[in-house]
Symmetry: C2
DNA sequence: CTTTTTTCGGGGGAAAATCCCCTTTTTCGG
DNA sequence: CCGAAAAAGGGGATTTTCCCCCGAAAAAAG
């Protein structure tokens, strides 16, 4: 019996094209092409022909790769997810692997690597590139504590990414300027930055603020 | 005679896959798949089988879509460029069109649209989506003067996207703090921003600084 | 019902950033 | 060589930011 693959990516051209690639491989067929996680879950609900492997983009609108992988791990643990991404961001890779992904490929990998990954994930259960192995190992060795921001801090952080002064931010948040200063100092500490530019850079890097 | 297409994209998986799509279309063949503009120019130098259409990603390392299109317009004006991009950024679209691109497609367009674009670009000479038409029209009506930054201003702008104080920036640039203040004020004026956060946001939005 | 933690608010001073008006030096086309 | 323009530097005032300190109220935990 052939392996059944689903491709999930918001870039239609890419998902269509990847589906085409996969169809070229012997023993693989494409059973679904979806634009985001929600579509995939819908498909799984309504169709009997479930995939056993999902090629999933990480950055998608509506329902991204991490959320979707978590949902799959919970409700369809027999489905193996291979993440596709344009970037090799350590944090994102870790999140995806922790969410249950069996592999993490960059979008500029060779066709042959994709094929091997598909085969390995089915046969061996996982496919890790050297980069991923390295990241996993270093994450084991120094389990750095995750930075957790509170709701109100995130709200402030977003406002700090504007040209408002802290006083103006205080008005918007209906707080005293002094309280806002408190948030600022707390974030300086937590995020290990020295000034407002540091806050802005952190917020953008971590997708708290999208410019 | 078949149309000859070259695909240029740094994401191997995507370019391979798009090449696969194009091969499905009758009257089209793929003569080259390149990872960036430099590779394409190399190919054009060394091979006789020139493409008449190039599908080109905009964001590439080494030599991006805009630079490459400019080079093509100059040295190989008979080659028609269709831009491929993940984002519909007005400024980038304008730059690509001005550089000589005959079409601008998002990476989440349908296969059929890609086919139509290829056909139209060859037959009619261009293919503009509604969005592109709108942008071109609005650009005609209000030809806003382009903001031109000097070398030294760009250098300063990048440094402003760090946690350095202006005094420290002055040291790095081997200038007096007062001169650096001058650059700052000039940029506030040019970019229509009020403070350093504005500078940082502008630099990031315009890819002068990549976080 | 206490105790602790979280949230909110504040004082005051030093440093940095912002703003306006001005001079000197360098560069460059005519 | 000269004059204009651009680049570099500056004085000084005001606002904002940064960085310590502190206390009260509210919420959560015991």
């Amino acid at each position: 019996m052939k392996n059944r693959v689903a491709v999930v990516d918001d870039h239609t051209l890419l998902s269509e094209a990847i589906a085409g690639l996969v169809r070229q491989f012997p023993d693989f067929e494409v059973v679904a092409v979806c634009k985001n996680g929600k579509e995939l879950l819908n498909y799984l609900k309504n169709s009997k022909k479930h995939p056993n492997i999902v090629l999933m983009d990480v950055n998608m609108p509506v329902m991204n790769g991490i959320e979707t992988t978590l949902a799959l791990s919970k409700d369809f643990p027999e489905i193996k997810v291979i993440a596709l991404s344009i970037e090799e961001d350590e944090q994102i890779i870790l999140k995806m692997i922790r969410a249950g992904a069996k592999g993490y490929l960059l979008k500029d990998t060779q066709k042959e690597v994709l094929k091997q990954a598909l085969i390995d994930v089915e046969k061996v259960g996982f496919y890790h590139t050297n980069t991923v192995k390295k990241i996993l190992k270093s994450a084991e060795n120094n389990p750095k504590k995750e930075i957790i921001l509170k709701e109100r801090e995130i709200e402030f952080l977003k406002l700090a990414c504007t040209e408002m002064t802290y006083k103006e931010i205080a008005d918007v948040m209906c707080l005293s300027p002094k309280t806002v200063e408190g948030y600022r100092e707390a974030l300086f500490q937590k995020l290990n930055v020295k000034n407002r530019t540091g806050l802005v850079l952190y917020a953008i890097k971590n997708n708290i603020f999208i410019p």
